[in-house]
């Protein structure tokens, strides 16, 4: 993984044009697709934000997390509890979920500073395995609803817009995703992003260059958890339901699969990965209940062997060779 994966500082005009066309397409989609497909695409955006956060930590900064399902759950529960218990409007829950997860991630990142490679993976794996039990615990039942979970209402479109709730939520998620991707891109393209990659590639050299490794690593953990928490809050609002058992260790594994298949250390990889973890299980479910996971497992190993750059790596290679020819 070369530092060349870092996003550049300014976009050329043709890329702006491409993005505008893409945005127009995305805005047209909810009017041609069924409500269920629109709902699925809303979830894709939530996942894409999560994967962007996980990619910052694992891809760019080299800290392996098998426990991001936990931060997703914290974001989801923060949103659900705020909406259900305190009547907070849905859009207000996102900043709160972000703040809670930023703090939670930063705090978990502090002990994680001493852990490297597989051992950090182990500690975060423990977090993912232990989390459903914690959410079910009696002391928290008053807020979390215990095993039953919390059901929340889908928000209605504001200003009397002539669209239904699913379409509105899609546009809301799209707007949030655009903001988060812009934030993520600028963060990674700047000084902080370069410091993160430097720490991953050569911690000693990075330290010699004056990078405060402890600060950057725990900060990356916090920011990564923050992105994941926002994704979790969006996901909870879209699904209208949170329950402890939907945040088991396999959710965290799905996120890891997403960034590996999408492409480590790339921005667009988060989008491909989100599409993968949303739509592949739907197709594979028709074969057997176990099939989606078998496919996840095989795909993730094959990608590691054959295409460590993921789908994003493919796309980059194709677009590069195409540009050379013209």
């Amino acid at each position: 993984m070369a530092a060349g994966n870092l996003p550049g500082s300014a976009l050329p005009p043709w890329k702006w044009a491409a993005l505008a066309v893409l945005l127009a397409l995305l805005c047209a989609l909810p009017f041609v697709l069924s409500n269920f497909s629109v709902f699925q695409l809303t979830l894709v955006m939530a996942y894409a934000i999560v994967l962007l956060g996980l990619n910052m930590l694992t891809g760019y900064n080299g800290q392996i997390s098998l426990g991001h399902g936990a931060f997703y759950a914290i974001g989801a529960y923060a949103a659900a509890i705020l909406m259900d218990h305190y009547g907070v409007p849905y859009w207000m829950t996102l900043p709160v979920a972000a703040a809670v997860c930023l703090v939670a991630g930063f705090l978990f990142g502090l002990p994680a500073l001493r852990l490297e490679g597989p051992y950090l993976a182990l500690a975060t794996f423990g977090l993912a395995v232990a989390l459903p039990q914690l959410l079910k615990h009696k002391a928290l039942e008053k807020w979390t609803g215990g095993v039953q979970g919390i059901t929340i209402l889908k928000p209605d479109p504001p200003f009397g817009l002539p669209i239904n709730a699913d379409q509105w939520l899609y546009f809301f998620a799209l707007a949030v995703a655009i903001v988060m991707f812009a934030l993520g891109r600028n963060l990674l393209a700047g000084r902080i992003g370069r410091a993160m990659v430097a720490i991953r590639d050569n911690p000693i050299a990075a330290e010699a260059m004056g990078i405060d490794i402890a600060l950057y690593k725990s900060l990356t953990f916090g920011v990564s958890a923050m992105f994941t928490g926002i994704g979790g809050a969006l996901g909870a609002i879209a699904v209208q339901f949170v329950a402890p058992d939907s945040f088991n260790v396999f959710l965290s594994i799905a996120f890891l699969v997403g960034i590996v298949v999408g492409g480590l250390s790339t921005l667009q990889g988060a989008i491909y990965g989100a599409l993968f973890i949303q739509f592949v299980p739907n197709v594979a479910d028709r074969i057997s209940r176990a099939a989606p996971w078998a496919i996840y497992g095989i795909m993730v190993i094959l990608f590691m062997y054959l295409a460590p750059g993921g789908v994003a790596g493919f796309v980059q290679r194709i677009s590069r060779s195409w540009r050379r020819r013209t």
């Binding site: 993976a121 232990a130 996971w293 497992g297 993730v300």
Partner: protein, 290 residues
Amino acid sequence: MDTFIAQCLSGLATGGIYASLALALVMIHQATRLVNFAQGELAMFSTYIAWSLIQAGLPYWAAFFATLAVSFAAGIVIERVVLRPVQGASPLAMVVVFIGLLVILNSVAGWIYSYTVRPFPSPFPSEPLLGQHYISSHDLGAIGVTLAMLLAIYAFFRFTPLGLAMRAAAQNPESARLAGIRVGWMRALGWGLACAIGAVAGMMVAPIVFLDPNMMAGVLLYAFAAALLGGIDNPFGAVFGGFFVGVLENLLGAYVIGQELKLTVALVVIVAVLVVKPAGLFGRAMVRRV
């Protein structure tokens, strides 16, 4: 007092199972310096193989040893086919491959055997042994099996030329290779042994937690806690750690925090050991030249 003793003893029994799985983790860590996230699912799959054999009409102990043989062979095949190509890759690649393996084994077991929870037989009598009422025969048997396995492993590494070769290959692969040891095969052998040990753990835990594809997640977490507590490069430490976290889990569950937070105990042990004393109680601190 009676319940206290009973809690400690049943803690020792589950501890014995954690210890066996921790031994399997130590085995792979010794042979390859890796942390095997798929160890629990490997043990689960072996237990399903044992279950199939028993269903097919084999007597328990015949099925037991046949399962050990199959698991040993499967371990070697997995090392050769799945792990060989990524030998020496980055930690991330290794973790991803292990997670892929975990997911594949879990889903294939669910596919073949369905997700229904099934009972699994115990080879030990259902009446408590020796006229006492503190500990069931199965628990006592599981402790005995763990200790016997530890002794066998110790004897294997201490007294056989193959054990010596495996230790050499793990400690210094380059020199071992120069001395004519086939390091790659030693790694595969380590995997085979770990899978066989894990199979024992699976068959011992299945009568208690029942057989289903997700049965090992909690056990694996405790085995990690045990292996780290004892020092992941020390078999005796792993066994001690297993018994220790088993008793700790039971006592905390019975008297302090209740049954619902058992996994959190394991998480806290893992994080605490990794942060305070990463080498574990009996492990050697790793020194790295930078």
